[in-house]
């Protein structure tokens, strides 16, 4: 229990009058000090009575939209609260978030509630940072009046739950057999068609009569129809690299970045262009929107997703395969030069470790996911929007994959690219096309 400022002043006055009455021996002072004491106790009894009524009336029903999620993914929590509050007190209820969970959107706390019967719903989304079995631990109920304030932790079985199982998001991917990577057959029918005639075939019932090739039909004395090649669009792919929530970043630059992306999307959507959007935060894929042209979907994504995110994985911890090969080569060169026996032994050990890594084919999950996205979307151009603050190994990886798939890659950044600092810091991006966001 916490006593408020008003109560503290009354207690001070009570003690002052009591001590005065002790030394001055005046019953009048004692009577007045005792009346203040009674006032506080009387208010506490009323407060405690109301507190009991509120706490006993509360019912909590908490639900999650999923019972199983992957680490780093978002889950929506809905808590329905019902409580009765007596006149003269204010109540605030807040849901306790389990350890290893971060609130992404919404509020897990009510506004101050006053007298009456309340039926409330709290809706917020959480993202699981750690994996394992997570149980919602309950809630906190803060009750206050003009004199006292107390917080009751509702942690018993009636208030806890439900449990949420969080599966780990692995950094590396398991090596798949070649059979699995052959691709799958689809019955995809593309409405758009090209101008080139692929083949002729006999006319079948329900075929479009406009497709009949009269010259061939006359020559063969049978109806033939033209079959055209399919036309596939290659929509541009926008990649947005959100900053790490735990790291310092320039808020001004971030708002500039968001503004630029929003304007770009708005312009493209207004012109009727189909876009694909990939939102990442370092080497963590957050959302992927493929071939989207509905303005409402874009607006929802911009509103809900464009904010700094927690990065589960960091790519700078692992070296790229190309770098590993280079290092093996360097070590071999050192070995050939010869030298001290112990040094040569050390080099051979390092070489073995690197070779094992290369043979292991430990491709990281991020690279695999990006490759798959490139295959699915087949983008004509990739524009990556990033603050370029801190670690940029994931940008290097995307640029490398884009070059491998022969896709044009443009990096848009808020950094001053003409400055020497930029190229000094990000020398690895020297070969890429970089544009500065004005």
């Amino acid at each position: 229990m916490r006593v408020k400022r008003c109560t503290r002043v009354i207690i001070a006055a009570f003690l002052l009058l009591l001590i005065s009455s002790f030394f001055l021996d005046k019953p009048g002072l004692l009577a007045v000090s005792l009346s203040l004491w009674i006032l506080i106790i009387w208010r506490y009894i009323i407060f405690f009575k109301r507190l009991k009524l509120v706490v006993n009336s509360i019912t909590i029903n908490r639900n999650t939209d999923k019972s199983l999620i992957r680490q780093g993914m978002i889950c929506t929590v809905t808590t329905r609260i019902s409580l009765t509050i007596e006149e003269g007190i204010a109540v605030i209820y807040s849901d306790l978030t389990p350890a290893g969970v971060q609130i992404e959107d919404g509020l897990n706390q009510t506004d101050p509630l006053f007298s009456g019967v309340h039926e409330l719903t709290l809706k917020y989304s959480i993202s699981a940072i750690t994996h394992g079995n997570i149980t919602f631990p309950g809630g906190n109920l803060t009750v206050q009046d003009q004199f006292f304030e107390t917080t009751i932790q509702l942690l018993s079985s009636g208030y806890i739950g439900p449990a949420l199982l969080v599966q780990p998001a692995p950094f590396f991917e398991k090596k798949k057999s070649d059979l699995q990577s052959q691709g799958v057959e689809t019955n995809k029918f593309l409405v758009q068609r090209g101008n080139t005639i692929k083949t002729y075939r006999k006319y079948l019932q329900d075929d479009d009569s406009r497709l009949i090739d009269w010259k061939v039909s006359a020559k063969r004395d049978e109806l033939y129809v033209r079959e055209f090649t399919s036309l596939e669009s290659n929509p541009p792919l926008l990649i947005i690299d959100l900053p790490d929530v735990d790291q310092d970043y320039s808020e001004e630059n971030f708002s500039k970045l968001v503004r630029t992306i929003s304007t770009k999307i708005e312009t493209e959507v207004r012109e009727g262009t189909v876009l694909s959007l990939l939102i990442i935060s370092g080497p963590n894929i957050i959302t992927f929107l493929s071939h989207e042209y509905y303005p409402n979907s874009w607006m929802t994504i911009i509103r809900e997703q464009f904010h700094p995110r927690i990065r589960l994985h960091h790519l700078y911890r692992t070296k790229q395969r190309i770098e590993l090969r280079k290092m093996v080569k360097d070590v071999q060169n050192q070995n050939e030069k010869g030298g001290n026996n112990s040094i040569l032994k050390h080099y051979s050990l390092i070489s073995t470790i690197y070779k094992n890594h290369l043979l292991d084919n430990g491709k990281n999950r991020f690279s695999s996911q990006i490759s798959r996205i490139f295959i699915t979307v087949r983008p004509g151009i990739i524009s990556l929007y990033s603050l370029c603050e801190g670690d940029i190994s994931h940008i290097k990886e995307i640029a490398h994959l884009a070059r491998f798939d022969k896709i044009r890659f443009i990096l848009q950044t808020t950094q001053m690219i003409r400055s020497h600092d930029f190229y000094g810091q990000y020398s690895s991006l020297r070969t890429e096309t970089i544009e500065e966001i004005p």
């Binding site: 008003c6 006055a13 009455s21 009048g28």
Partner: protein, 155 residues
């Protein structure tokens, strides 16, 4: 400034009590001075967050002064002082609160009668201090036991 009926009633009771004190008191000039201060605070003090507590302290000071003339009048003055204090704190004036206030004023009356019976304050002060410690302990234990019901049950 809009004054409700109950506020008018309390203010009138306070003024009547103070006027009666002025009439009976040998040092008559003290009471109008305190009454003037109290009314000035009531009408002109603009900081609402502090107004209640300043009024209560000023009112209790007038009660101490009144007790030396007549304990009964001190009790009469204490009713509007505490009543106005509760009104300023926006404590709802519903039936339950009215009942609680009547019980409080009754208890204050009993205290006034008892204090009029004693000649020396040394033993009562010690008894009050012991009772205060016991009450605080009681409050802490009751609240702890109450909160414990809603914690995790041990298997």
């Amino acid at each position: 400034m809009i004054i409700s009926f109950i506020e008018k009633l309390y203010l009138c009771l306070f003024i009547v009590g103070m006027v009666a004190l002025t009439y009976y008191s040998p040092i008559w000039y003290v009471h109008p001075l305190i009454m003037g201060t109290f009314l000035c605070i009531w009408f002109y003090y603009t900081r609402k967050s502090e107004k209640g507590i300043v009024l209560l302290l000023c009112g209790e000071f007038s009660c101490v002064a009144a007790w030396f003339v007549s304990p009964f009048l001190a009790w009469v003055i204490q009713i509007p002082v505490i009543g106005l204090f509760l009104l300023i704190l926006d404590i709802p004036h519903n039936k339950k609160e009215k009942l609680y206030s009547i019980i409080l004023f009754g208890v204050l009356g009993v205290i006034t009668v008892l204090s009029d019976q004693i000649n020396h304050t040394v033993i009562p002060v010690i008894l009050i201090l012991i009772a205060s410690v016991l009450v605080i302990l009681g409050i802490v234990v009751t609240e702890f036991r109450f909160k414990k019901q809603f914690r995790v049950e041990k298997i």
